[in-house]
Subunit: 369 residues, 2 copies
């Protein structure tokens, strides 16, 4: 496949780590929240195997924060998500679908409750800050909304725990999944969560002090040698196998959270107030007409750059393939697809046209592994 | 300079014309409103000269539309911009800074008044649709907000008028600047405006019927041969020389419209209601502390990927260079910079560190030509 270069500019913001990852061999970028996000360090497959066995350091500054502070901050954060946050606790992360009044997905961030009056929304790729500002202004909420100076370094992979322990001490290994706390690095406090955009385990360091963050970045590589540390980035293969959904790829504003399988993050029975609640009740009552499922295809490679129609043996369009990659685990292409009702039978045979060839496969449940 | 490839995906949407421009030799992309925007077809300078003399066809589908319809649509559009739209007319385009309640810029779109109850906001690179949705929900406005299926083809350059006349007849040459109307192409009506992101003149075709748009795209190249038509894209050199500002590059949410020289698009004396009005009155009273100006540098090349500090001869930071390129017209690098008060004297000598070398230059007014 022909490759095209990315034109850099101030509008497509670099991160504090960009010059480092370029020396370390980044080969491709994508753009995420108007920022450069590394997309490959050479072979995707090599990086996949390495991530599953060792430890990688990722420059994921593109995961921007929307900081909401003030008297009405909890009210505004709750208004934006169908997940009940009334019993949320300080020092915890919450995966929260953000929806509009029609229950269309706007983002699927991780919300950090720093305290009752200070929240960070760690966003996927859409300008949630503008939605929050519009809602706050329209509702005359007493809040301050800004994009703070926070650039995340992710430390991912099974050996991330040992590496982080070496730097921050045994305390950090006691963090629960989706818990966060402040940890000291050479006199500077960093907010660190046990989280990250892989299923391999690890941490995300929310760097506010850029100078200390750069020092920490280098230190992670110095101390990581014994764990076979490498630079990396969210891995397409790993995230599809684990069914870590990607906003904009697998779902967008035309999909609702039930269609994306977010049932456990939808709370319709409590009395909390959020947008789209009535609409979601209606959807629950009527049932959904499409949903995200897995697809396995009998081919060895597929570079997806937009949706592909999925057909059945009668040539009816029964779904839309939205993400796909070759999986070394299955030795075939796997993907995530929005399937129409009633074509949800696991093992249903399907076909897709790829580069003028018809390939066959079958529907399956998510996650793959 | 090392180049990096762009990782494509459904999240970074292709346009209906992507396969065509790839056959036609696009070499670089940027991402604009989550969409691929061509950034180069080989040499930027060759393309600049061609644009100034002939005619180019641009795939600028990345200029997405926010469609606002309904009873309160005029009220919502006005709420978002400091420009008085109370005397606006159907069939006209309006360049409108969109600001928040603190007068920080959110976007600088062209607003098309299709009629009093139907507006298109043709946006620069930020999710204005989320701001509009937030405001509409918070204010309980009776509006429908969506991203319609519209992909713009721009026809730019001095010979664009002759080419478009050949296809659409003499009527199209009577369109005034920033006027639009519907024109027939083989039985399909297309909204066409005399506008575009160059100062060379031309048209933007707002394609809703994709099939007809693709046919029209090919037809433009067929009939354009006699005018030396080429594929192109917004040209960095041409846009900087003409001081066509770029949201995200030259200005962002930390800047207000006075600082960007948008004085003529700010109406504080009428009784229209918009966000940030009181704040703008205060800013006008107090005076601004920084503003956008031109910079000329005594060097022959500069690839800017983020801001650079501008210093005076006392080594004080007096401004921030935000966009820059080599200009064949001046035979030196020119750029757009946010300059601190009181360093606004035209001809003020300045210096900038570029790749560990200090280069000198001077401040100047905008536009350059």
């Amino acid at each position: 496949m022909t490759t095209f270069s990315i034109a850099k500019s101030r509008r497509v913001r670099s991160t504090p780590y960009t010059s480092r990852i370029e020396k370390q061999g980044v080969t491709a970028y994508t753009v995420y929240n108007h920022m450069l996000l590394p997309a490959a360090f050479g072979s995707l497959e090599d990086s996949y195997h390495h991530l599953k066995e060792h430890v990688q350091i990722w420059d994921v500054a593109g995961e921007r924060q929307v900081e909401i502070t003030g008297k009405d901050s909890a009210k505004l954060v709750q208004l934006m998500t169908c997940r009940d946050l009334s019993k949320s606790k300080d020092g915890r992360c919450y995966y929260c679908p953000i929806i509009d009044d029609q229950a269309g997905l706007i983002n699927d961030p991780v919300v950090l409750r720093i305290n009752q009056n200070k929240w960070w929304i760690s966003i996927a790729d859409s300008d949630v800050i503008l939605f929050a500002k519009g809602l706050a202004i329209g509702n005359k909420f007493d809040v301050l909304i800004k994009e703070p100076n926070v650039d995340i370094i992710a430390v991912q992979g099974p050996k991330s725990f040992k590496l982080m322990e070496k730097i921050f001490g045994v305390e950090i290994t006691k963090l629960k999944f989706f818990g966060f706390d402040y940890f000291d690095f050479k006199g500077v406090k960093h907010l660190i969560a046990q989280s990250g955009w892989s299923k391999q385990g690890g941490y995300e360091i929310y760097v506010e002090n850029t100078k200390s963050g750069l020092e920490l970045y280098d230190h992670l590589f110095d101390l990581g040698k014994e764990f076979n540390v490498k630079p990396g980035c969210p891995n397409l293969i790993e995230r599809i196998e684990s069914a870590l959904l990607s906003y904009g790829n697998d779902m967008d504003n035309n999909d609702n959270p039930y269609e994306c399988g977010f049932d456990k993050f939808i709370n319709l029975d409590s009395d909390v107030v959020f947008l789209g609640k009535e609409k979601l009740k209606q959807i629950k009552k009527d049932g959904i007409k499409k949903k995200l499922m897995g697809v396995q295809l009998d081919i060895k490679s597929l570079s997806l750059t937009s949706s592909l129609d999925i057909k059945n043996d009668k040539d009816e369009i029964i779904g839309e393939l939205r993400s796909a990659c070759y999986s070394p685990y299955f030795d075939k292409v796997i993907g995530i697809a929005m399937m129409k009702k009633p074509f949800w039978d696991v093992s249903l045979p399907v076909k897709i046209e790829v580069n003028s060839n018809i390939c066959t496969g079958n529907i399956c449940d998510l996650p793959f592994i």
